[in-house]
């Protein structure tokens, strides 16, 4: 493990700057750099590689959001931060599955990450709500909304894609879809 880490891990500074500049390369390096560490942790604590992937991706999302929000201060090594996040997430999952208290075998130093995790859980709930709402929205509304709000297509492009005769029709359709989505989102 140590061999792998030292050969391919980017410096903490590289990662932070890369994420701030939306560099896909930095994200890739970060992701592949620390995954073995988490894989080892999860495999040695009653998990499999899919658990490792889920937990690890969740921790990267937290780190990513934290860096993006601008209040990220590197109080420890990035490695320690990621490890602590994953450890905490995995502990929660384990205790959810079995009611009894769980112990994990540690491989790295840890630090307190509870507040970051709580913030993330709030966001995660929003994410799941949105996912659920979009699922219930159905086609073509889902694609229209995603195209307009997420992929930032113009109304012109959307009406061409879906074969609307003019953009006004597309706008009306989008409005209806959005209303339904809002309803689903705020109801659930």
């Amino acid at each position: 493990m140590s061999k792998k880490l030292s050969s391919s891990v980017p410096t903490d500074r590289e990662v932070v700057l890369g994420i701030l500049n939306n560099s896909d390369d930095a994200l890739n390096k970060l992701y592949t750099g620390y995954f073995p560490m988490i894989l080892q942790f999860i495999l040695n604590n009653n998990g499999d590689e899919d658990d490792a992937k889920d937990v690890y991706q969740e921790s990267i999302i937290i780190l990513y959001n934290k860096i993006k929000s601008g209040d990220f201060e590197l109080s420890s090594k990035l490695k320690t931060y990621i490890y602590s996040l994953c450890r905490r997430i995995w502990l929660k999952k384990l205790s959810k599955e079995s009611k009894k208290a769980v112990n994990v075998t540690d491989f790295e130093d840890i630090e307190a990450v509870e507040t970051d995790l709580e913030k993330h859980e709030e966001k995660d709930r929003q994410f799941e709500k949105m996912q659920e709402a979009l699922l219930h929205l159905g086609e073509p509304c889902k694609t229209i909304i995603q195209d307009f709000y997420i992929h930032n297509l113009s109304m012109q492009e959307i009406s061409e894609k879906f074969g609307y005769t003019n953009t006004d029709n597309a706008k009306t359709q989008k409005y209806k879809c959005l209303q339904r989505l809002k309803k689903l989102f705020f109801q659930s």
Partner: protein, 363 residues
């Protein structure tokens, strides 16, 4: 319906900052006037934000999945999965602790090793007094009794128990030797290179520096001619070539070497360490430099170590001499220059050998 759509379009434009200054102003006034518009705006903003977050997370997950696909997870898994052997598990889990413990042990060993080597010279101090071989010695004695026409009758027929070396420090019969040579002696005889033996008594001892001064008290003893050497007051440096004459056997033996250290056994500053071959019987022999000055008294060697003999510095002989009343010392050589200076080693030894005595101790 139509109005609703337009209102929402305006709200979106407002949130995205696409309105002109006047339009924005007009809209803000509308917000203040109509709370329902304001409420709509806030709700819409919250909704759009979470929609955007959703989009971000989704794209991030896509990117991570792509990165994940580039890794060989199966290979990593086999490498990192829990090992069946508890020893390997223990090693993996406690790598850093074990490393610390190991380096501590290593450090401790190195320091113990270093301390031992710094402070302790190997081997022990062995004084070079000779325990004379009974039979051999008595045989020698017999041969001498038969052969010599010189006077030996004064010496007891009984063989000596211990032997050493001494050298004259005055011409009227004062000799210098080591205290450990004559320690506990009932009687002391000295024998010169011609085989003549004289009775001597211990005149002065200096236990601190292991020195003793003997006085020849034999009536047959005739004073020596002026001493060919003098005692060097100052210390000599490392590397000075030196030689010694002693009696490790019944005949005088020349040993040659150099001063190898300014201090003696375990840093003893009263002695030199000399690289010179010495053997039991050499104790008390003079250590001379190339100019024929006595620079020390051979006293001991380190056993188990090659070529480490020790010689007491001549300064302490002079100190011992000062304990003797000067009138009993007789005439002392006052020559500034040693008479041996400039002579070859062969000539020097020739001149000195009359002044070096074998000490025989009976008890």
């Amino acid at each position: 319906m139509r109005n609703e759509i337009e209102l929402e379009a305006i709200i979106e434009d407002y949130l995205n900052g696409n309105l002109s200054v006047e339009e924005a102003k007009a809209f803000e006034e509308l917000r203040i006037k109509d709370p329902s518009v304001d409420h709509k705006l806030v709700a819409h903003k919250v909704f759009l934000d979470s929609l955007k977050d959703y989009g971000h997370v989704l794209s991030l997950k896509d990117k991570m999945d792509a990165a994940h696909a580039t890794m060989d997870v199966e290979a990593l898994k086999t490498e990192l999965k829990p090992h069946s052997s508890p020893i390997v598990k223990l090693w993996r889990n406690n790598k850093s602790a074990l490393a610390v413990a190991a380096s501590f042990i290593l450090l401790a060993m190195v320091s113990v090793f270093a301390i031992q080597h710094n402070t302790k010279q190997n081997g022990s101090y062995e004084m070079m007094r000779r325990e004379l071989d009974r039979i051999k010695s008595s045989q020698n004695k017999l041969i001498r009794n038969i052969n010599s026409n010189v006077k030996t009758e004064a010496a007891p027929v009984r063989p000596a128990k211990f032997g050493g070396t001494g050298f004259a420090i005055t011409s009227n019969g004062f000799l210098c030797t080591n205290l450990h040579v004559i320690n506990g002696a009932d009687s002391v005889y000295v024998q010169n290179s011609k085989g003549e033996a004289y009775k001597a008594k211990v005149y002065y001892t200096d236990p601190q520096y292991d020195l003793a001064i003997l006085q020849i008290v034999d009536k047959d003893f005739s004073p020596l001619s002026a001493l060919p050497y003098k005692l060097k007051r100052s210390a000599v440096g490392m590397g000075e070539n030196v030689y010694t004459l002693g009696f490790p056997k019944d005949d005088a033996v020349l040993g040659q070497g150099y001063v190898s250290s300014r201090t003696g056994h375990a840093g003893d500053t009263t002695a030199y360490q000399v690289s010179i071959p010495v053997n039991p019987g050499n104790s008390g022999g003079p250590l001379l430099d190339n100019n024929g000055n006595v620079v020390g008294v051979i006293s001991a060697k380190e056993n188990q170590v090659d070529g480490a003999a020790f010689a007491i510095k001549s300064k302490y002989i002079l100190e011992a001499l000062s304990a003797i009343p000067s009138d009993s010392l007789g005439r002392r050589s006052v020559t500034k220059k040693s008479p041996l200076q400039g002579l070859s080693r062969l000539k020097q030894v020739e001149k000195i050998q009359d002044y070096v005595f074998m000490i025989k101790v009976y008890n």
